[in-house]
Amino acid sequence: MEEALHFFYQYRDVIFIFALAIFLGIEVISKVPSVLHTPLMSGANAISGVIVIGGLILVGTANLSEFSLELVLGCLALFFGTLNVVGGFVITDRMLEMFKKKKPTK
């Protein structure tokens, strides 16, 4: 218990940000119309690719003088993260384009 309390004390600001973000996520989404479910899912998926920052840091701090498993895995993480981000935003945009261009006719 004391461990947990100390952990909480150390990271209280971050934990607080966590809590607020959960609220905000729920608040923001809770009234979305059913047609937007799929694009929203896809857009959220692209945002979750923010892990790419971790990949950038890994590859950025990797030791290039020797070939290591770490380096390979780091590059893979960066690769997959970028794929998620770029692919995710592109397909979301394509889906939404469909709705958009029809709107004015209404």
């Binding site: 966590f18 892990i51 997959f80 970028t82 692919g87 939404l96």
Partner: protein, 480 residues
């Protein structure tokens, strides 16, 4: 950039530090704005771009402003490597995103979600050896991140394969027990790791075992879930990827990652619940996958018989009607008949017949499936009418054409309390004056139940692949 502007907790703070953190804050806020806009039809597209701009900003500043513990920027060799990897991945992502057919969207989303989960798991694996022994909180967070990321990865891959029809469901109660067992094993292993006094550096194998077990769990978790439930599962896995990214953000103390991840996590959970609700089911019901199992039992014998009709009769019926409502369903997507149906629609409209499409929110296999499909064929947006709006008009409709839809027009949902879809809102097709149903044969819909509509006196069947049927029907009408 390297100019020292102060000291904070014993570390020299440079302009670069300040700008990097500022950019993360801005990126995080762009995510919030973006998601907010994404949830309104008019601003959705702009919202996506805002979120993308936030991501770009965070990526660029990380690359050029990140400093390691000794205050050095990323060396040029690594910058080049980063450039190469990012360039390749972006190109591939871009091309796939642009090329793949609209109808493959659910598969694509699940694949991209798998990559995100994998990246999170890899980051957790690589950061693990650097954790300090006894720093239980952080160790717990990174183990959790690894587990969740790995489950999201393998789960999404299985979901993809199922959506693509490459693998079948694996049901049975033994799967439930196996899953439970696996989960207990993982939990026990985690506790053992946490309690062992050995420093993370000295037992890197631990993380690999955990990784393997988690991947396995992801597979066995999704395996028994019905293939058609995959959109819901993907939404759930998507939330998991977000949480995994947030866990990594916690370890890096990175606000953009934390906020982006948690936002997606929370939004994904809500979205999952909303999707379940739109199908009138609960999340547990989806995961346990009992849907359709005991369905047949509650079926009474249907009064009446199924009546076919000839193509010519159908053509005459349509050509001499005043108004026609088309109800598209999953079969339209399977047959890829969106262009053909648009042709029929134009032909009828040119003869002065009013044609509308009745769109059920969960017709097809993902929300908005029909909208996307018909939009691809350039059907004008104002011809698509939502379920709640069209239902009151249906009694005045001369001909209602059901194309590859089944569950969403099944009257049992309204009048048979024993039916597994009882309570789901439907398009009340049976109210129309005449009903034409196009399907290939005696196949059932997603819920696997009989549909009394087909036995209705006013209903006539046109068997065959929807695309061919529509094509023939159009030619027939043209010749009249």
């Amino acid at each position: 950039m390297d100019k020292i502007i102060g000291n904070f907790q014993g570390i020299d703070v440079t302009v670069g530090h300040g700008l990097l953190e500022l950019s993360y804050l801005v990126a995080a806020l762009l995510f919030v704005f973006g998601l907010k806009k994404l949830s309104h039809p008019d601003t959705a597209r702009a919202g996506n771009l805002w979120a993308a701009a936030g991501m770009l900003l965070a990526m660029v500043t990380t690359t050029f402003l990140y400093q390691n513990v000794s205050g050095e920027n990323i060396p040029s060799g690594n910058l080049i490597l980063i450039g190469i990897v990012v360039a390749i991945a972006s190109t591939i992502g871009w091309v796939i995103g642009k090329r793949v057919a609209m109808t493959q969207m659910p598969q694509l989303v699940s694949i991209f979600n798998a990559t995100g989960g994998l990246a999170s798991a890899l980051v957790a694996v690589l950061e693990y050896p650097y954790l300090v022994a006894g720093d239980y909180g952080i160790i717990l967070v990174s183990i959790l991140g690894l587990f969740i990321g790995a489950v999201a990865f393998s789960g999404s891959v299985v979901a993809y394969l199922k959506l693509d029809g490459k693998i079948k469901d694996l049901r049975g109660s033994f799967m439930t027990y196996f899953n439970l067992l696996l989960l207990v094993a993982i939990l026990a292993f985690c506790i053992w790791t946490m309690l062992s006094e050995t420093a993370p550096t000295e037992q890197i194998w631990v993380i690999w075992v955990l990784f393997t077990l988690s991947v396995l769990y992801g597979i066995s978790f999704v395996m028994p879930i019905g293939g058609a439930d995959m959109p819901v599962v993907i939404s759930l896995l998507n939330a998991l990827t977000g949480i995994a990214a947030a866990a990594a953000g916690f370890i890096y103390g990175n606000q953009a990652m934390i906020l982006g991840g948690i936002l997606v996590g929370a939004a994904g959970m809500i979205l999952t619940i909303l999707m379940c609700r739109a199908m009138n089911r609960s999340l547990t019901n989806v995961i346990v996958g009992s849907f359709g199992a005991g369905a047949a039992s509650s079926q009474e014998e249907n009064a009446g018989s199924i009546k076919e009709m000839t193509m010519t009769d159908a053509a005459v019926l349509l050509a001499y009607s005043n108004n026609v409502v088309i109800v598209p369903g999953y079969g339209l997507a399977v047959a890829q008949a969106q262009h053909t149906v648009h042709e029929l629609d134009s032909l009828l409209s040119s003869r002065g017949i009013e044609v509308k499409y009745a769109i059920h929110p969960v017709a097809g296999r993902m929300p908005g499936h029909m909208n996307v499909l018909l939009a691809e064929a350039d059907v004008p947006y104002d011809k698509l009418v939502e379920m709640d709006e069209i239902n009151p008009e249906l009694p005045h409709v001369d001909v209602l054409v059901v194309i590859g839809a089944n569950d969403v027009v099944n009257p049992s949902a309204k009048d048979d309390p024993g039916s597994p879809i009882y309570g789901m809102p439907i398009i009340e097709a049976y109210q129309a004056k005449n009903i034409i149903v196009m399907k290939r044969g005696a196949g059932k819909g997603y819920a696997g139940i009989e549909n009394p509509l087909f036995f209705n006196d006013k209903t006539r069947m046109l068997y065959g692949n929807a695309k061919d049927t529509l094509h023939n029907l159009t030619s027939e009408i043209k010749q009249m």
